[in-house]
């Protein structure tokens, strides 16, 4: 149950910011020594995050998943706000430490991670690229919008990621991880995971 200060501690703690340094870009460590961060470093941070994969679905990055809510400079440190997919997602802490590690390796000194619950993550935030990557990986991407759902009844229309058939049936609303349901294709008979809509 790590809180943000414990997470910071994993990466050498959060050094005290110099007075008046709010929103100042931080130092970037590079092969040529330390330098002040410049405008190109925020887009570069996003590029680094695009290489950090979801440990449970290694086909999609944390950016594809839409769990990165903000990247900015705070007190001379890069701050990354991450929202968990599910309250009990056991990968949350691992994802946070992978992000911090990737950023440190790219030269961002002592990045700060913030866990942000609100607004709650929705599968609507999974990018088009993320959906396509899920499909190629063999996981049916979430169908429709999470906002248009009724409580009881109402089935999702889910396409088989193997053959594209719409003739599929749910085996269990709960699959191998919290974010997935288990489906079966009636056309090609293959079972598959469906990234369920929330």
């Amino acid at each position: 149950m790590a809180n943000t200060s414990e997470i910071d501690a994993l990466f050498g703690g959060s050094p005290v910011a110099a007075p008046g340094s709010e929103a100042q870009p931080g130092l970037i460590a590079s092969d040529g020594g330390a330098r002040e961060a410049d405008e190109s470093d925020l887009p570069r941070a996003w590029q680094v995050l695009e290489q950090v994969m979801d440990p449970e679905v290694p086909a999609v990055s944390v950016v594809d998943l839409g769990i990165i809510r903000e990247v900015s400079w705070v007190d001379g440190h890069l701050m990354v706000a991450v929202t968990p997919t599910y309250s009990g997602c056991p990968a949350t802490e691992l994802i946070e430490s992978e992000i911090a590690k990737a950023l440190e390796q790219a030269g961002f000194r002592a990045p700060r991670l913030e866990r942000r619950l609100s607004p709650a993550w929705t599968t609507d935030w999974i990018s088009e690229q993320g959906r396509e990557r899920l499909r190629v990986y063999g996981i049916a991407p979430p169908s429709g919008s999470s906002s248009k759902r009724s409580l009881l009844g109402e089935k999702d229309e889910v396409c088989c990621p193997q053959c594209g058939s719409h003739d599929t049936e749910v085996v269990s609303q709960f699959g191998s991880t919290a974010c997935k349901a288990l489906y079966r294709c009636r056309s090609c008979l293959e079972p598959f995971d469906y990234f369920k809509c929330i």
């Binding site: 599910y86 709650a120 009881l152 709960f174």
Partner: protein, 254 residues
């Protein structure tokens, strides 16, 4: 805020303990569920609940500010300090008892979190809105099982009826309301227990009707009350297992 602080801590512990104890009970099905898909479903639901419990406990720990963290609240309190409803501490029984227990709780949980999503306390609203997405799936699943068992074979129907009969009386403290709830509801922070109970009743009637199951009379007053720490004998046994590691090896971490 300070007026409500003690109420709020108490309320957060109720929410956290309901999720935690229900999650712990579900874990007892690990390796024993009647089908692999069901085992995965129950473990997923349990994981959601433990995650939600952590969110409530973390908030409670911050307000308590007595040095205890979420882990200590979960694992280092005595039985009388737990505030969960009696329903979630009941033994799992057969699959119909578990299904009845889950459905009756999920319906209450769904309507409670729906109300809390609009709480004037932003932290509560955020935790509730997050949990509500998960609990919507929990309720859909348990509701479908009530329907399938209730309207299934003669045996499944008899067991479903027996399962409901077994746990129905514990819906009294689930739905009842005390002064803490009333004060927090009036302040726009907590859920209105009367409105939650009415919505719960409607959901239960809807699902029972589909399953051709009779809706029992409202549960009558029961001398125990989980909200005040007066539990059935089952909670102590559950805690003995759940707390073993932290009691035997205090401060052990992963």
């Amino acid at each position: 805020m300070t007026d409500n602080k003690n109420d709020l801590i108490e309320y957060l512990l109720r929410l956290g303990d309901n999720a935690m104890i229900n999650g712990q009970r579900l874990c007892e099905w690990c390796g024993r569920a009647p089908a692999l898909e069901e085992e995965m479903a129950l473990m997923n639901v349990g994981l959601d609940l433990v995650g939600q419990a952590r969110n409530w406990y973390e908030y409670a720990a911050e307000l308590l500010a007595d040095g205890r963290d979420a882990d200590q609240l979960a694992f280092r309190r005595d039985e009388r300090a737990y505030r969960n409803t009696l329903l979630v501490e009941q033994p799992n029984g057969d699959y119909a008892v578990t299904t009845a227990k889950l459905f009756l709780f999920d319906a209450w949980h769904f309507h409670t979190l729906s109300a809390l999503s609009a709480s004037s306390d932003e932290r509560i609203a955020a935790i509730a809105a997050k949990g509500l997405k998960e609990v919507t799936y929990h309720l859909r699943r348990s509701g479908e099982w009530v329907e399938r068992l209730g309207d299934g074979t003669e045996q499944s129907r008899q067991r479903m009826l027996a399962g409901i009969d077994e746990v129905w009386r514990f819906t009294f403290d689930l739905l009842s309301s005390d002064e803490i709830q009333q004060r927090l509801a009036a302040a726009g922070i907590g859920a209105d227990a009367t409105a939650v109970a009415a919505a719960w009743q409607a959901t239960v009637e809807q699902v029972f009707e589909r399953a051709s199951l009779p809706v029992p009379q409202p549960a009558s007053y029961f001398y125990l009350d989980g909200k005040r720490g007066l539990h059935t004998e089952h909670l102590g046994i559950l805690l003995a297992e759940m707390q073993f590691l932290q009691r035997a090896y205090p401060d052990a971490t992963w």
